[in-house]
Amino acid sequence: MPGYQKITSKMLQVPVAPGAEVYSRRGAMLAYTGSVAFAPSTTAGQSIGGAIGRAVAGERSAMMHVTGQGEVMFGHAGLHVSVVDLSGGDTLFVEADRLLVHDASLQVGTMFMGEQGGVRGIVRGAVTGQGLFTTTLTGKGSCGLLSHGGVMELPIGPQHPVHVDPQAYVAHRGQVQNRLTTAVGLRELIGRGSGEGFQLELSGSGVVYVQASERKI
């Protein structure tokens, strides 16, 4: 597979061929060579049932199906782009609006936050503004993620969990449990908090992607 190629920190070049199609965020194409077509897609590679589920969950980002033969460049709103390659073994958990482009060979799903971390997961989704659902990508292929200021890859080991600011969290993969930890004390109650009252604790084994900013997309 030729793979995704980064041109600049904000631009990605993706080869498209029959049988190697991609889905991308609508309107994120910058340029292309060859003969490539862009069709709006409501299902983004899922079944109709899955698409309805996603729509109900609010975890829906307008995607388009990119087909044909050629090279397509992607980018969005001057945000940084990072490439994540999935070898087929694990699942990537990411917010739908951070997804710039992904191979059509990847299976897209929606996961209820409660599945990862129970009630805490639900609270986490509500507090961070990410909603109660998140998007999952499984299979073999690549995807491009959007971030503000670029991402760092932090490994998570069984002995060393990682604490992340919920606003700086972009995505994670592997066997990871996430938990919202609060550091709310008397100071927060009287409005003298450090401004870091909530943290996301990720434990298990895997990788978390963190952006160098607290700005949402």
């Binding site: 041109i7 600049t8 920190s9 904000k10 631009m11 609508r26 309107g27 994120a28 194409m29 910058l30 340029a31 292309y32 060579t33 077509a37 862009f38 069709a39 709006p40 409501t42 307008a62 388009m64 460049m73 980018g75 969005h76 709103a77 001057g78 945000l79």
Partner: protein, 253 residues
């Protein structure tokens, strides 16, 4: 070096006609430069900034600034000193033209030497520089150079050099068939947002940037106003109907 790891500059150590960092450019001013309003962030030396309409500049403006539409956005910096230019934290680059031509998005052109002649491009919102000299332009992310044939999203297009022929390309192929017809008639499923591109063919270079979400609406508006002269009476009446229809729907919304 300061304690923050950044270098401290002064008038003597600032680079001459070179980048200070990826986001700021230092012009070694000795004479006159055209600069877009609001892009100058600092200067050293004896520099005066004059509006293009001011009398003494008439001869210079008539010779090199061939675009009344953009005249109110530009000033002339004259004197001796160092002029620092920057724009919205974008990457800033300078380019040298040697008896050449280059067209660039109007909002992204920061400054140019009077040796170059500025004209409005036929594509709305773009300016063409012709001649010999240096100019400074900003881009969202580093500039990426590509060769035709290529199709570029209108927002990602930064400009083009030499003469690849730019034209519009529309792609509605997914509107075909029974499902496509339903999509077109009922508007279900939305559009991909990628139906329209600029198509470049021929010899030359196309300059691209990562997509810029914010368009300079003021320039767009003035561009439209400038083109009204080409519309006849019946066209003006139709335009009026379109505008009033749009206005009433905006009020309801």
């Amino acid at each position: 070096m300061s304690s923050f790891g950044t270098r401290t500059w002064n008038a003597a150590t600032l680079p001459a006609n070179d980048n200070v960092n990826p986001y700021a450019f230092s012009v070694d001013l000795d004479g006159q430069w055209f600069a877009q309003k609001g892009k100058m962030i600092a200067y050293y030396g004896q520099v005066r900034f004059e509006a293009l309409s001011s009398g003494p500049l008439d001869a210079l403006v008539a010779r090199t600034f061939n675009s009344p539409l953009y005249a109110q956005d530009w000033i002339v910096a004259q004197g001796r000193g160092k002029l620092l230019l920057a724009d919205r934290g974008f990457d800033v680059n300078s380019f040298d033209l040697d008896d050449g031509n280059l067209t660039v998005r109007a909002g992204n052109l920061l400054a140019f030497e009077p040796g170059l002649e500025l004209k409005q491009s036929i594509i709305p919102g773009f300016l063409t520089l012709i001649g010999t000299g240096r100019f400074v332009a900003a881009s969202n992310g580093a500039v990426h150079f590509v060769e035709p044939p290529i199709r570029v999203d209108p927002q990602a297009l930064l400009g083009w050099a030499d003469c690849p022929s730019p034209c519009h390309h529309y792609d509605h192929s997914y509107m075909r068939g029974a499902f496509g017809a339903a999509r077109m008639v009922f508007g279900i499923g939305g559009s991909s947002g990628e139906e329209h591109q600029f198509d470049f063919t021929g010899q030359g270079t196309v300059l691209m940037q990562s997509s810029e979400a914010v368009m300079n609406e003021d320039v767009l508006l003035r561009d439209l106003e400038g083109q009204i002269g080409m519309v006849g009476t019946s066209g003006l009446q139709r335009l009026q109907q379109t505008i009033s229809r749009r206005l009433s729907s905006e009020r309801q919304g």
